[in-house]
């Protein structure tokens, strides 16, 4: 899916697409576009179909900063026990998280054209009314996504770049530990069922420490 299509789709999501963009999207046979479109709406539906107004929300500045430097987007406020951050009690924060999830969502495609900068540029414009809550900060990969990895999501053993073979969205140590847990449990089961036995455990050898 090229940048132009991506931008048009973002505009359409915002209700800001002009006729040309609408036609471009509708006429497109790009499979990735349909998938992205579906995903955007899936996320929106998960918000219990709240009427979300995207106008006036802009996190691009904060996101750009995160890419440029090491600034973490965690806020000091933690979600209290039992709170349903997913529920749109704070509608704006949720809308911001949708935006960032969308940035993330586009990123996870296996497209060799995807780069961090491009994704940020086409994200819908949001300005959080309050400082980004922890809910929004957790979802994006931007902080941990150096652009050189983004350029080659399909990892090739011939790839000569600095890719350590670990492209991910985990922004926190806790998330990474969780991931290691999933990988170990999965590997135990994979070794039993993939016909290759114990050599499968080589997959959990590389504990990346970043």
């Amino acid at each position: 899916m090229n940048d132009q299509l991506r931008e048009s789709m973002s505009a359409l999501m915002d209700g800001e697409a002009d006729a040309l963009e609408v036609r471009r999207i509708v006429a497109s046979s790009d499979a990735e576009l349909r998938s992205t479109w579906r995903r955007y709406h899936l996320m929106r539906d998960a918000m219990h179909q709240q009427e979300l107004s995207f106008q006036g929300l802009d996190v691009t500045a904060a996101v750009s900063e995160a890419i440029a430097g090491d600034r973490e987007l965690y806020s000091s406020r933690r979600v209290s026990a039992g709170s349903r951050w997913w529920r749109p009690a704070a509608g704006m924060a949720v809308a911001a998280s949708v935006a960032l999830v969308m940035v993330f969502g586009v990123r996870s495609f296996e497209s060799s054209e995807t780069t961090a900068a491009v994704n940020v540029a086409v994200a819908p414009q949001f300005t959080p009314a309050q400082p980004a809550s922890i809910t929004t900060s957790k979802v994006y990969p931007v902080n941990g996504f150096p652009s050189q990895r983004a350029g080659n999501v399909a990892v090739s053993l011939d790839y000569a770049g600095p890719n350590t073979g670990f492209s991910n969205t985990a922004g926190s140590k806790a998330t990474e530990n969780r991931l290691e847990h999933y990988l170990l449990k999965h590997t135990e089961r994979a070794a039993l069922n993939n016909g290759q036995g114990i050599i499968t455990f080589a997959r959990v050898a590389s504990f990346e420490t970043e």
């Binding site: 998938s35 899936l42 996320m43 998960a46 933690r78 979600v79 209290s80 026990a81 039992g82 709170s83 349903r84 997913w86 999830v101 993330f104 969502g105 996870s108 296996e110 809910t135 957790k138 979802v139 990969p141 999501v153 399909a154 990892v155 090739s156 053993l157 011939d158 790839y159 770049g161 600095p162 890719n163 350590t164 073979g165 670990f166 492209s167 991910n168 969205t169 985990a170 998330t175 991931l179 999933y182 990988l183 449990k185 999965h186 135990e188 089961r189 994979a190 039993l192 069922n193 993939n194 016909g195 290759q196 036995g197 114990i198 050599i199 455990f201 080589a202 997959r203 050898a205 590389s206």
Partner: protein, 323 residues
């Protein structure tokens, strides 16, 4: 020839061409079908060899730009399998298997017992189950770790799984190299022996487990599909449920088509935990999302050696069915 069913016609044509080729003295006249059958035959040999033979060797595991070396020893003694996997790079980690008991030893940590649930530890590749979903073909001969091998390519027949290239020792049927092939023929990960000795006795001391540490024992239990309050509504063709286990933290379900394995984790959402995250490490992907369940939230994570789109589709198909 008009009016003959297509199948009959091509079979006739095949026999005719075979006859012609034979009469011309061609040396290798295997039809496509026969080559394919040979490929499956090699896979069947492979599926038995890794559990039935004694062997010891060093292999590499490659993904992205990382390379790990490991030493593997495997022996069958008195009808039981013994295995030892040593990580030769970095921390001195080992996995030792004696029969049905598997232990993982990592310095500085407690001895960890893997496979705390009762599971059969040896299951040969179910090659018959693969046939509807993969095409198998011999792509040629080769040489790996000084042994002559035959290369078998498994091409998936849909877009929900990856292809494989398996290099099988001609003498013994042991798998000496295994690659997972992704889009555009890219190799996503590779296991490859660099040195291997097949056959011969291996000393029992090689498989001695270190009993000094206390093994952590997490109580787990098995569940049936009906006992779960959720269901994965979509799986790629051929994927069957292998087992579901549960402990205090999560429920874990495993699905496989006989080659690719997918694990599904369902757990309550921890405070502030995110959803909608995807990760890839070599051929392994992980995708998670949040699922609404009555008045709580569940986190669903799918991990497997499949395309990300497949993991995502499965995760998104999980629904809460209630108690």
């Amino acid at each position: 020839m008009h009016g003959l069913p297509a199948l009959k016609l091509s079979s006739l044509a095949r026999q005719f061409s075979l006859l012609v080729a034979l009469s011309l003295g061609a040396s290798s006249v295997f039809s496509d079908q026969q080559l394919e059958d040979n490929a499956w035959h090699w896979l069947e040999r492979l599926s038995k060899s890794f559990s039935q033979l004694n062997y010891q060797g060093v292999f590499t595991f490659q993904r992205g730009s990382t390379l790990e070396s490991l030493r593997l020893s495997h022996a069958v003694m008195a009808g039981e399998e013994f295995e030892r996997l040593e990580y030769l790079d970095g921390d001195r980690r080992q996995i030792i298997r004696r029969g049905q008991s598997v232990q993982c030893i990592h310095p500085g940590h407690q001895l960890q017992r893997l496979y705390t649930e009762k599971q059969a530890l040896s299951s040969p590749m179910a090659t018959d189950a693969l046939r509807p979903y993969y095409r198998a073909a011999i792509s040629g001969d080769g040489r790996v770790a000084g042994h002559l091998v035959v290369d078998v390519i498994l091409t998936p027949l849909d877009t929900h799984r990856w292809g494989r290239k398996l290099s099988i020792d001609k003498d013994t049927g042991l798998l000496l190299r295994s690659e997972i092939i992704g889009d555009e023929q890219r190799v996503l990960e590779r296991f490859q022996f660099v040195d291997v000795k097949i056959g011969g006795e291996l000393p029992d001391q090689l498989f001695e487990a270190n009993n000094q540490f206390e093994a952590a024992n997490v109580p787990t239990k098995s569940l049936d599909a009906e006992q779960c309050q959720w269901r994965a509504q979509w799986l790629p063709g051929g994927f069957e449920l292998v087992s579901i286990s549960a402990d205090d933290l999560q429920q874990v379900a495993t699905f496989t088509d006989g080659l690719a394995v997918i694990t599904l984790f369902v757990e309550p959402v921890v405070n502030g935990e995110d959803g909608g995250a995807s990760t890839r490490r070599g051929a392994t992907v992980a995708f998670s999302r949040i699922l609404s369940a009555d008045d709580t939230l569940l986190k669903v994570t799918v991990v497997g050696e499949v395309p990300m789109a497949t993991a995502q589709k499965i995760a998104e198909s999980v629904t809460y069915t209630g108690s």
